[in-house]
């Protein structure tokens, strides 16, 4: 069996004395979309924060491209190829859109390819190019999300992690965001997605993991989990089935 791009095993994370993640383990194959779902406070974001290097795991292994990377800082992780679009987008709002993108290619690895990557990002998001000199904070929520994804792509990630990219966006924009994720995946970008929009997140995912209060309750293929009666009952209810 070929080695997966990312393999996480027995990951434990604490915030102070409180344990936020318990023995989390999963793997992401190259070219796949992997979704982590669960309700508010289940620890989904914490997984991404630990993998991006913002939070140092207490124990466990993170193997990326075959080498151990756990405990490295966020500035190192992005150079290795793991890029996070944080919850709430985390744009530099006082900087222009173009400056945000330029800084996206700050790493040694990405800097020489900056002009070429920018062309690619502009192609993906024509709206970005049209408004490149605008202050990022003055754009609409959906546009900001695109700039945030574009900025992460500027680092030439091998693994793109998205934390709640649909949060706070109008339904029509949410659809666009998921279309973008699909397009990126078609262009061979491996994606690790955290979402509360469970229906969409499972539909798009090759595999997925269900988190509940910091522990894994289920893993499996996206469509299997989507059809699972327990998941339907626990997370989607009857009203939200169609979303």
């Amino acid at each position: 069996m070929a080695n997966p791009l990312l393999r996480v095993s027995d990951l434990n994370v604490f915030y102070g004395d409180a344990q936020a993640l318990w023995d989390i383990g999963f793997y992401v194959d190259e070219g796949a979309v992997y979704s982590i779902i669960g309700s508010n406070g289940a620890g989904k974001s914490t997984v991404l924060r630990a993998l991006s290097g913002l939070v140092r795991p207490a124990s466990g292994r993170v193997e990326f491209l075959g080498s151990r990377v756990e405990g490295k800082g966020a500035d190192v992780m992005v150079d290795l190829g793991i890029s996070l679009v944080p919850e709430g987008r985390g744009l530099f709002t006082s900087l222009t859109v173009l400056e945000n993108l330029e800084l996206g290619a700050f790493t040694k690895r990405a800097r020489p390819k900056r002009a070429k990557t920018l062309e690619w990002v502009n192609e993906l998001f024509p709206i970005i190019e049209a408004r490149k000199d605008q202050q990022a904070g003055k754009m609409s929520g959906g546009e900001q999300q695109m700039v945030a994804i574009g900025r992460a792509l500027m680092s030439r990630p091998k693994l793109l992690m998205l934390d709640e990219p649909s949060l706070g966006l109008a339904p029509l924009i949410v659809k666009t965001v998921f279309e973008i994720i699909r397009t990126l995946n078609e262009q061979k970008v491996t994606i690790l997605l955290v979402e509360q929009n469970i229906h969409q997140a499972l539909k798009i995912a090759d595999r997925a993991l269900v988190l509940k209060t910091g522990r894994t309750t289920m893993t499996g293929k996206g469509d299997e989990l989507l059809a699972d009666p327990e998941i339907q009952k626990a997370y989607m209810g009857t009203l939200r089935k169609g979303t």
Partner: protein
């Protein structure tokens, strides 16, 4: 009885205040940069300025080096000193939060003051070049040459720092890290790197302010603390995170003090500037020269 002096005197005071205040401005820009990335008030900035003033003084004293020529020594040495200072004193504690860094800055200030006092004696010093007392007369006004030079240095420094922050990638990284440190590390900006850059520039500016101080004032080892306070007031007036705002804040403070000490007394001038400091913090904490939309944080 209130006495209103003729207009040319009022203008003369205004000009003196502007020239005077530009120096506070240079110091405030340094404070603003360091505050932006490390979130601490670098209270030792004034002591650094005095140290640079001593540097200027000794270069003049021993090598007869013209104070303005000594920029080519003082400025690069200050920048390197700033970079080293961060690596040696602050790098280790930067992760532990602001409080240890603030204490170290305070300790550094006291250490430098006492060290300078022992090494250089507490006697006031000043650089007396041939042009120190020279003034330019125009339109019935008299402008001190050394203060005019200080003002020009302030304008050039402000322009230089602004261009650095706007045009260079590392300058953009400093702005990004000042706004959102977590996002900055996510794109690969190492906090230590931007911190040491801001320290390098901040102390470099202290070097320039030191030259300006040595040529315009007489100074002693303990002169710096008040300078730090004044820079802090200038920063509060101008608004954190704005380079031009910091300079304007310094100029405004200089004008306030200048009129304050003319109409009242020197002591009252300080009362007025500290009162202005508190009033601005109470009613317009984002600063007077920052458009409110620019200071918005998400």
């Amino acid at each position: 009885m209130f006495y209103l002096p003729p207009i040319d005197i009022l203008i003369q005071i205004l000009i003196n205040g502007i020239l005077f205040g530009a120096m506070y401005g240079i110091a405030a820009i340094g404070l603003s940069l360091i505050f932006g990335t490390m979130q601490i008030i670098f209270i030792a900035q004034g002591a650094m300025i005095v140290l640079a003033a001593y540097g200027t003084f000794w270069l003049f004293h021993f090598f007869s080096m013209d104070p303005y020529l000594s920029i080519i020594v003082i400025f690069p040495v200050s920048v390197i000193f700033g970079l080293g200072l961060y690596q040696v004193l602050f790098r280790r504690v930067a992760r532990a939060g602001k409080f240890p860094s603030l204490l170290i800055a305070f300790g550094l200030m006291v250490l430098l003051e006492n060290l300078m006092s022992v090494l250089f004696t507490p006697n006031p010093r000043s650089v007396r070049a041939s042009y120190t007392a020279y003034g330019i007369s125009a339109l019935g006004l008299k402008i001190s040459f050394t203060r005019l030079m200080a003002f020009i240095m302030a304008i050039l420094a402000t322009t230089g720092v602004s261009l650095f922050l706007k045009k260079t990638l590392i300058g953009k990284a400093v702005r990004a890290a000042s706004e959102n440190l977590e996002s900055a590390t996510l794109v690969g900006i190492t906090p230590h790197r931007v911190n040491s850059v801001t320290f390098g520039i901040g102390i470099g500016l202290a070097g320039l302010a030191g030259i300006a101080t040595a040529t315009t004032y007489s100074f002693d080892p303990y002169f710096g603390f008040v300078f730090s306070l004044k820079a802090m007031i200038a920063l509060a007036l101008g608004g954190m995170g704005s380079v031009v705002g910091a300079l304007m804040g310094g100029v405004l403070l200089g004008v306030l003090e200048s009129y304050g000490s003319f109409f009242l007394t020197g002591g009252w001038a300080d009362v007025i500037s500290y009162a202005a400091f508190m009033l601005v913090l109470m009613f317009r904490p984002e600063g007077l020269f920052v458009r409110s939309s620019d200071s918005e944080k998400p």
